[in-house]
Symmetry: C2
Subunit: 148 residues, 2 copies
């Protein structure tokens, strides 16, 4: 039997499943999971429309949920996987969380934290472009369907 | 009888009352209120320790609560009063909310949105320094007491 080790693609696929759940609710399809020691400890997807709340981004919900799971507010030794590059708000939340690693799929050249100069925590490692095409395609399809 | 019209000082005092509530819970003393048409529609104070959640800043709670009150996610024609300059996260949330006005008390030269270049919404007017000494003193006293 050939067991493939858990890798970035594996966890990004779980984040994509969350993004699909957002899509099914008519939301901008962004999904996230938080991983600690090869285990998913939190999930979240964009719910800004359903909750009438601009703060209800996938990452914010995953951060809150992960802290709840841990029983502490710092996400040391945790990795966030998110299908879209975090915005200023989510980047700012990640800063406060002191999360160890942030892995994202598609870049957001308009509202992404990197183009806008938002500071992540100096201890946070960042990995970009994981399943970027798939993550981005989901967004493109959503906005195309909205324009129709 | 001399009725003083409601002004920035008046609403900042309400935000200070929220900050005092945070202090009483052992939190960094930051408070906020959201005002629409001379009425306070939402209040919030920092609860990051109590909730074990880095996202539980005063502004975030006030934004979510105000949207809940309005029944829509945009805070057009609303003013946020907050005792401390918003951070990147809260600035990013304010951007998404398209709030009309942001009034803050003390500046935050380390983690404030303005020094870190966080973009607020282009339609948001910003007023600074309202009861700044009082708002700042509360913070200074808190951190001094922590160092003792």
């Amino acid at each position: 039997m050939n067991l493939k080790p858990l890798d970035h693609d594996y966890f990004m696929r779980r984040a994509l499943t969350e993004a699909q759940a957002a899509l099914a609710e008519g939301e901008v399809p962004v999904g996230a999971v938080v991983v600690a020691g090869d285990r998913i400890i939190a999930r979240g997807h964009n719910r800004t429309q359903v909750l009438n709340d601009v703060t209800a981004h996938a990452e914010m919900q995953a951060i809150t949920s992960a802290a709840n799971h841990i029983g502490g507010k710092y996400l040391h030794d945790c990795t966030l996987y998110v299908t879209l590059e975090p915005c200023q708000m989510c980047g700012g939340a990640l800063y406060w969380s002191q999360i160890s690693k942030v892995v994202y799929g598609a870049s957001d050249p308009k509202r992404g934290y990197s183009i806008l100069g938002t500071q992540l925590h100096p201890k946070s490692e960042v990995i970009t472009g994981v399943l970027a095409d798939e993550c981005g395609q989901l967004m493109d399809d959503f906005f195309k369907s909205k324009r129709r």
